[in-house]
């Protein structure tokens, strides 16, 4: 709807829209003491002092009548002034915390870029800490986040497309990519998928993540989420697309592959030999976190001959008193461990440590001496637990924790054969999965030679981007 020439009509419409919104302020003033005008803004989202000094004072005290749009605009000392001419645009601007000025006799409104609200300072993201490397993390402000990226990549090729999503929340979204690095088809695909979303509110990136994934039923994350500007920047220069949402420090990177979810920024900050070794350690323990208890169950139940005799005797002795089968035991302990972990993550820090102590005692020492579980089982669960904490991203750790249970069941039913079949079944799924058209398991399957340099090794930097 177009704005009217008459101030009275516009104000009446706005007041109707903002009925019962006590935080929306309508400030009346007369330009040059003559022409009626109205400043509309939301309390707490603007720089009040600046508005007083740079907008209200010069307008009120300036010379007399006959204000054209240009005239009003030039009287104020604000760097960012825009004009809007429809009611919907006006509402979006007000909601973003920009004071708007409506002047009688003008069909447009002036928008002053004086928004300001309280925000968290830039801190180190707790979920993705590093020993070496930048310690800043994204915050809840879209503008600050984009600026953080821009500070890392100062090239004009860094493109930022912003638009709003959510018919009700009208949340600003930014799609960021590097021109020349990102395939134009990928950027188009991301934008078209985002535009197809029919959603009322976007409060977190997770809200849109489920809309734009390739496979909506997979337990595996198909987009990489991070809170670190350096991670986002490194993916941008590699040709990925970053999606940001106002109000959350978590940004999405598309496309994501299985192996990109198993990388940490530190792989690239440490020396490459160390980086490669740590990466392999991580792959190994990632497999353990999926298969640890299942392998134990399979070996103890079906393949005792694989265990060296002396060890077998020790294990048999510790299992003698246990009333459960290895499978039952494993289920019990793993469920208990997952519960403990969840409890520890949700509780306040002070109580959290108490839970871990009690939990360690309950599922550790006490359970063994009470003869409910065997000591090797506790060890296996503990090792699996440690292994699962090594997953560098929480999102890739969850499906593995989940899939551990069916594989444990298969191991209890069919031994190693069951484990292998279970792994094959998971692999079938992973091999079919795509993230924005990119095979999830690439570059391993299908094999892309130059990509392997960054998966099987962490090739030294001078060799990493050489495509030969």
């Amino acid at each position: 709807m177009k704005l009217s020439r008459h101030l009275r009509d516009n104000v009446r419409r706005l007041r109707a829209v903002y009925s019962d919104c006590s935080d929306v302020i309508f400030h009346e003033l007369r330009i040059g003491g003559h022409t009626p005008a109205m400043l509309v803004f939301i309390e707490g989202m603007i720089m009040l002092e600046e508005l007083d000094q740079q907008v209200i004072a010069p307008l009120r005290d300036g010379p007399g009548p006959g204000p054209s749009l240009e005239d009003v605009r030039s009287r104020t000392a604000v760097a960012s002034i825009r004009t809007v001419s429809t009611l919907n645009e006006l509402l979006d601007e007000i909601a973003d915390g920009h004071p708007v000025l409506l002047v009688d006799g003008l069909e447009a409104a002036l928008v002053y870029g004086l928004s300001h609200w309280e925000q968290r300072s830039v801190e180190e993201p707790t979920a993705e800490s590093v020993l070496r490397g930048p310690r800043e993390g994204f915050i809840e402000s879209l503008r600050t986040n984009i600026a953080m990226l821009r500070r890392k990549i100062r090239s004009p090729k860094l493109k930022v497309i912003t638009f709003r999503l959510g018919s009700q929340s009208r949340t600003p979204i930014a799609v960021i990519y590097m021109e020349g690095a990102a395939a134009p088809a990928l950027v188009r695909e991301v934008l078209s998928r985002l535009n197809r979303i029919e959603i009322t509110d976007v409060l977190e990136t997770a809200y849109i993540e489920e809309w734009i994934e390739d496979n909506r039923f997979s337990p595996f994350p198909q987009l990489l989420s991070t809170e670190r500007p350096d991670v986002a920047a490194s993916y941008l220069v590699e040709g990925h697309v970053v999606i940001m949402v106002e109000g959350t420090p978590t940004v999405l990177v598309a496309p994501a592959t299985f192996f990109s979810l198993l990388q940490t920024p530190e792989d690239y900050y440490e020396r490459y030999v160390v980086g490669t070794a740590i990466r392999w350690l991580r792959y190994f323990f990632f497999a353990i976190s999926l298969l640890g208890p299942s392998l134990y169950v399979a070996v103890v139940t079906f393949h005792q001959e694989m265990i060296p005799t002396t060890l077998m005797l020790t294990m048999a002795r510790s299992r003698e008193q246990i009333p459960f089968t290895a499978l039952m035991e494993a289920f019990l302990m793993e469920t208990m461990f997952e519960a403990l972990r969840e409890a520890g993550a949700r509780l306040p820090k002070q109580i959290g440590s108490a839970v871990s102590i009690v939990g360690a005692l309950v599922i550790g020492q006490a359970a063994i001496s009470a003869g409910i579980v065997s000591a090797p089982m506790v060890m296996v669960v503990a090792i699996t637990g440690i292994a699962s904490f090594m997953a560098p991203r929480y999102t890739i750790g969850i499906p593995i924790r989940l899939l551990r249970f069916p594989i444990m069941f298969l191991a209890g039913m069919m031994g190693l054969l069951g484990v292998i079949l279970g792994v094959i079944a998971i692999l079938i799924h992973l091999l079919q999965l795509r993230s924005f058209g990119v095979p999830y398991m690439s570059p391993l399957a299908p094999i892309q030679k130059h990509g392997l340099k960054d998966v099987l090794f962490r090739a030294p930097r001078w060799n990493l981007n050489r495509r030969s």
């Binding site: 060296p308 069919m414 054969l417 292998i420 094959i424 692999l427």
Partner: protein
Amino acid sequence: MIEKGKISSAQLGKMIYLAITPTAILTAPGISFNFARQDLWLSPLWAICGVIAVPLALGLNRLYPDCSPVQASRKIAGRIPGWVFAGANWLFYLYMSGIILREYGEFVVGAFLSETPLLIVLGSLVLVCAFAVRGGVEIVGRFAGLFLPAFLTLFLLIVLLIIPDLQITNMMPILPEGILPSLKGSLVLQIWFSELSIAWFLLPYVSDRENAKKSLWITFGGIILTLLLSNWVTLLLLGDLTGGYSFPFLILARYIDLAEFFTHLEALFMAIWVLGAFVKICVFFYVTVTGAAEWMGLRDYRPIVFPMALLLTLFGIWIAANFQEMTHAIATSLIPLALTMFILVPAILYAIGRLRGQGRQ
């Protein structure tokens, strides 16, 4: 064509390698030994059928490069003969898949899960294969690419760990009765070598067709080398006992004893074997299902994957009453059957095609 996916020529090679070697390593030495005795290790060199099958598959594909064998055979031999060929073909592949499946089942039940019903062992693998086949040729191809390194590593690991126990005298005297015994011993191996002609069914999906020839020959060489190595190691370890075991290579894995900690690695062997059997059955089952779907004139093969999987499981059980019967069949009647369907019939088709002057343009 019924399949939209594409594979690379390297994937084709890996698929075929994994579709042939695993079962050959497992069952062939035991059967070959009864003919070739200590010249067992030479038998894989007489890979006559492979020398025929590879050019045959390539030649047939050249007649109609982008047609599946069902379509191509119809174009080559006419509607009715083509229809007969396609029907016989998928039934044959179903039968072959059944044999492979049963070999796998007998191995698992015999060596590891002696109390698990055969049906469960067969059914669980077929289910997983059906999922993979539903994913299409691309998925099977990626699997092959992923598994081949694992397969080779585990295979070489077993060979490496057994070296201290090998006795070179087991292969002496070399060629006491000329080459004839090793030639006889290679007769059963011809089944596996003739399986190379399955490449015809996969070639239409290869995106870089110009490299397919090279890839197939490398695969062929790789298969010969692998069998040479596995037969040789088996012979050097077991000597005259080789013929007495159904799965000589499994005994190898069992024999390993390194520092008293790496003992009884047969589970490792089972891992190789299941991975191999999985790819092998996937490839054969894939050919069966797509062949059947095209033969029935379906537009998509996915709806019949699970019904066919059930049929395959049943075939796995119907194929023979027991393991001995099946081994006997493999050593006798399966050889002419396989040679007919893998080599002779495609060769006749190719001859007809060439005589009619097809594939020139």
